[in-house]
């Protein structure tokens, strides 16, 4: 049968639309709930859409299946406004008012594949509105996706998700595919399809296993697939273990610090864990709700800001995109358990997806990072903790001598491109004082020896979130050599403390830049 021409179709969001008409799986129900929360009103359906990912899956697997799969998908666009033929016609005529109306109410798109068992292909939906701007959701891996329909284009910011089909990709493949969509790799490569990922996972580490249908990947294969895309894999193993060394999971402080540092750096995190009562499962963490620094804990006056994170957002192929999970600590063994925690529905709205979902116990993390980034988040965190303790100690003496109480400190770590640190990050911190901002930027550019493309930043501050100092680390050396390029001091006391620790304890702080 040949593919024929077909008109664009318009639907009211509800029972008869193409999404509601699919088999009501957990994923479909989740998407309906999610879009309902965003006040979805209309759906525009493209009945003929060639999807790059599906075409690769088709070419690698479905084309030779006797069932006779079609190579064409449908793509649906969801809007939080009424869309009729007249509005569509005006937009295709180039009418800017009409295009603007569609743009502002655009909630994203879903590719519907002609695979009955797993119809949900590439899906990108906007995030819920931000209601806590002071402790915002950190969704750094997000990117812009541009879609073109009949001569006008629309944009949605998010990160692609899709359902696993187990023909070409299992959950690990989908997790990898999501990771490689991150905006962090925008200037690096063309995003691979799921078929390419599965094939590159098998290119050097197959050991006799068949490629398609894909029954899953080993962590070695996941790492090989990452390397095949000219990126570097990082693997983290849970630090909470049984007496005979079996991994139980991650302590909260390590899990939260690693995920926050990586996601803040734009790197989604593949979480491999135990779905309680079911078995191993892989999901991809794409965001988290940032937290304020916490008061001193367990007698420690220096606390990682991220130890207080409560929620992490996950693309789970069993459920959908941006699924909120609560980070819980096991009461006895103190390992992390991720518990699905959907926000309450708006008044009068009933959730379709009410099925309970097992908790996930993360056991391993796998991340794709740029090849030139050789420092691990664990190492950066340790450096941050040690430097923060040194600063706390020197500062406490000074404060006590002046008749004040010691000041508990907090710290946070991240990797960032040097240009983005000097551009966006310093603007966020010092933008209220353009003269000072310019002075600091020029000093970093002119007074500090050449820095690496990606730097490790440790920000240390008071536990009321006042920053004291940023320490900028080289990321191109080994974890044993961990040179510091520079420090940016936000208060004059920070400069004195760094200088004092450098001279009395040989502590490395690099070139000091005054930002006060």
């Amino acid at each position: 049968m040949t593919n024929g021409a077909s008109k664009l179709r318009l639907h009211k969001f509800g029972n008869d639309d193409p999404l509601h008409s699919l088999e009501q799986t957990q994923q479909v129900k989740y998407l309906i709930d999610y879009l309902s929360d965003l006040n979805a009103e209309s759906i525009l359906e493209e009945p003929n859409y060639f999807d790059r990912d599906y075409l690769a899956e088709f070419s690698a697997f479905y084309a030779v299946s006797t069932r006779g799969y079609s190579n064409v998908c449908r793509r649906i666009h969801v809007f939080a406004c009424a869309v009729n033929r007249r509005l569509l016609r005006r937009a295709s005529q180039g009418n800017q008012t009409a295009i603007q109306q569609l743009s502002t109410s655009y909630l994203g798109f879903i590719v519907i594949r002609p695979i009955k068992a797993a119809p949900l292909g590439r899906t990108v939906v906007v995030w819920y509105p931000e209601n806590k701007p002071h402790t915002p959701r950190i969704t750094e891996p997000m990117r812009d996706y541009r879609v073109n329909i009949a001569g006008f284009s629309l944009k949605v910011k998010g990160l692609a998700w899709q359902q696993q089909d187990t023909g070409v990709g299992a959950c690990a493949t989908i997790g990898l595919w999501i990771m490689l969509h991150s905006s962090a790799f925008d200037d690096h490569h063309a995003i691979p399809t799921t078929a390419q990922i599965t094939q590159s996972a098998h290119s050097t580490a197959s050991l006799g296993a068949r490629v398609f249908p894909s029954k899953g990947l080993t962590i070695e294969q996941i790492c090989e697939a990452i390397k095949g895309n000219k990126l570097a894999p990082m693997v983290f193993e849970g630090d909470v273990k049984t007496s005979n060394g079996d991994v139980i999971g991650f302590s909260r402080v390590r899990f939260s610090a690693a995920c926050a540092s990586l996601i803040r750096s734009g790197y989604p995190v593949l979480i491999v864990g135990l779905l309680e009562g079911i078995g191993l499962h892989a999901v991809c963490a794409v965001g988290f709700r940032s937290s304020t620094p916490v008061p001193p804990q367990n007698g420690d006056p220096v606390v990682s800001q991220e130890s207080n994170i409560d929620h992490i957002y996950i693309h789970d192929d069993n459920i959908g995109p941006n699924v909120r999970f609560e980070i819980e600590s096991d009461a006895t063994s103190n390992f992390v358990r991720l518990k699905r925690s959907a926000p309450p529905p708006p008044p009068g709205v009933n959730r379709l997806n009410t099925a309970s979902y097992p908790n996930l116990i993360p056991k391993r993390l796998v991340v794709a990072v740029h090849e030139d980034l050789r420092t691990s988040p664990d190492q950066l965190h340790q450096c941050g903790m040690m430097k923060a303790h040194k600063i706390f100690s020197a500062l406490s003496g000074l404060l006590k001598s002046a008749g004040h109480d010691p000041l508990p400190l907090s710290f946070s770590t991240r990797f960032i491109k040097l240009s983005e640190y000097i551009g966006r990050e310093l603007n966020n911190t010092l933008g209220n004082n353009p003269k000072l901002l310019g002075k600091v930027r020029l000093a970093l550019w002119e007074k500090v020896p050449p820095m690496s493309l990606h730097i490790g930043v440790v920000r240390i501050g008071a536990w009321d979130a006042t920053p004291l100092i940023d320490i900028l680390f080289d990321t191109t050396d080994s974890d044993r050599n961990h040179p510091v390029f520079a420090n940016v001091c936000y208060q004059s006391v920070s400069t004195q403390l760094a200088q004092y620790l450098a001279t009395t304890e040989g502590e490395e702080f690099g070139i000091s830049v005054e930002a006060f």
């Binding site: 402790t135 790492c223 693997v235 191993l280 800001q305 340790q382 404060l399 006590k400 946070s412 911190t429």
Partner: protein, 68 residues
């Protein structure tokens, strides 16, 4: 000091809302040296304990684990 009013993170607290430390004092290196005896320190073994979770190596068993 307390987390008063709007709670921010270390990455977004507006600079006109920062707590200035020892603002009224010009801190010198000499003052820091003199105050050394008043310094508070976490015992080294306690700091080591806090660093330990971040030193977990990856085992062979992990790498060969099949994720379905």
């Amino acid at each position: 000091m307390a987390n008063e009013g709007e709670a921010f993170t270390l990455w977004n607290r507006p600079m006109d809302n920062w707590t200035l430390i020892l603002e009224e004092t010009t801190v010198t290196q000499e003052m820091l040296r003199e105050s050394a005896s008043a310094q508070e320190r976490l015992p080294p073994q306690e700091l080591e304990e806090r660093l330990k979770p971040f030193q977990t190596p990856v085992t062979e068993e992990t790498l060969s684990q099949l994720v379905v």
